[in-house]
Amino acid sequence: MIELLLALGAILSFVFGWNNSSFLIGNLRGSGTLTARSSVLLAVTGLLAGVLLEGSKMLKSLDGALATSASAYGLEVTFFVSILLTIGLTLLALPASISAAMVGAFLGVAVASSLSVNQGQTYLVITFWFVAPVLTYFVSLALHRALRRLVSGLNLVAADSFNRVGVVATSFAVSYSLGANNIGLIYGTALGGAQNGDSILVAIGLTFTAIAGTILLGKRKVSETLGDKMLALSPQGVLAAFGGAALLVWTGTQFQVPMSISHCILGGMLGAAYSSRITVINRRIVSESLSTWVVIPVVAFIAAFLLFRLSL
């Protein structure tokens, strides 16, 4: 059974790498700061550092924190529904939240199998999902103002260097936080919430599977949806949005809360845009992204509930 869970975890990691390619290497490549090879190397280093140093905090974030004693089959259903939903949204070029899909699907399974759901942790997770983008908005707004003030005193070359060093730093921070939270979530679920002697190998394997997804299928489509189509941001705006989002995802990890970086980045971009007094915002893209926040966990819950019940 563990083999099947690991296989499903690997597939979800691959899809995660595909869907998050814009966050992992998009900025580095788009700005021309690093070569494709160096960008991938930085993403691997960040993801590995995140999952190895802090991924264990997410081991029991589903089975253990939201509900206890889920069956292996229940975890397989959780993975299966999450994979299908994420692939569907990625094909539609929408920022899909793997964590939201997994939480929704796991709760669907938990309710279908009459497990006792930890309401306190469930409320914490849901509250965090709605509060985190708002907090990212304010963090990014403050960060953007500070960065603008700092850069305005620099000459052109120094400002350019600052932007490029900043892109490297925030890309690493994003990879680290995604490694700790999202790969940590997949890893914890695949191991059924229990570490064993091979845990490190599993974490490394899942990270490289995610990177394979980024290299083989990663496209700029998702980042265009968030960045270019929604609003136009300066380099400092992008740094503030990504830096703020990475901080909030990392904060979520400390509370065992599965986080979506796309949700946080959306809040961060709006914060940076407000700081720049950008008023032209593509409301359709914003509302599409906002609606997926609610739709993904609800659809995942219903699909997992039905699949679990019907297959019994």
Binding site: G153, L154, L156, V157, A158, D160, S161, F162, V165, S276
Partner: protein, 223 residues
């Protein structure tokens, strides 16, 4: 204020290259002004020497432009800013091209007729050429602010436009004088002078276009 990263070594070299490029362009424009003085004074030897210097300067500017463009294309500056630096180099190069084209009118003309000489020697023409040179000098001053900072760049951008606008006023004055056709000048001379004024005016226009690119650079790099 200096930034404590050696990250910008290539970019610093390119900024120094842009200054060097602009220095060559400025020299080319100055040689064009010398050619004008020599041609109107009937000093053919000096006129030939100045024309040759204009051609050499323009060729040199082209070579520097090409080398810098290659260096930038190989990977320098943040994405987006890179394209603007290339655009800036192109606009600076257009200044030298205009100086060369204007010089050709004077060199090809050979012995200028009295109507042309009187127009070329007029105070309006002197001011017109001074303002062309002033626009390029203001652009040099603007590019040197790349090493200072945003506020200084923003302060220096309007100076280029001021010279360009002053040159435009001179141009209007020259056209009025030209089309008065006092002394019934040869229509061919009138057409040649009209084209000469228009091509010469491209020097300040290109300098102003370059300053507009700097404004975009400031907007992109600094928010």
């Amino acid at each position: 204020m200096k930034f404590p990263f050696s990250f910008g070594r290539k970019e610093n070299a390119i900024v120094a290259g842009v200054e060097n490029h602009l220095g060559i362009v400025m020299e080319t424009v100055s040689n064009f002004a010398k050619l004008l003085g020599a041609a109107t004074a009937g000093n053919n030897a000096d006129a030939e020497k100045s024309f040759a210097a204009v051609l050499t300067g323009e060729k040199k500017a082209d070579d520097v432009h090409r080398r810098l463009s290659m260096e930038i294309a190989e990977g320098a500056f943040f994405g987006g800013v890179r394209e603007d630096i290339l655009d800036l180099l192109e606009k600076i190069d257009n200044v030298a091209d205009s100086a060369k084209d204007a010089s050709r009118f004077l060199a090809v003309e050979g012995a200028l007729d009295p109507f042309a000489i009187s127009l070329l020697k007029s105070s309006a023409m002197s001011k017109f050429v001074e303002n062309q040179i002033g626009a390029v000098a203001a652009l040099q001053n603007l590019v040197s602010a790349f090493k200072i900072g945003k506020m200084e760049m923003l302060l220096r951008i309007p100076k280029v436009e001021e010279f360009e606008e002053a040159a435009d006023s001179n141009k209007d004055e020259l056209w009025k004088a030209l089309f008065k056709r006092e002394g019934s000048p040869d229509p061919v001379t009138v057409i040649q002078m009209r084209d000469f004024i228009a091509v010469t005016d491209d020097i300040a226009d290109s300098a102003e276009d370059a300053s507009d690119v700097v404004l975009v650079l400031v907007a992109k790099g600094y928010d």
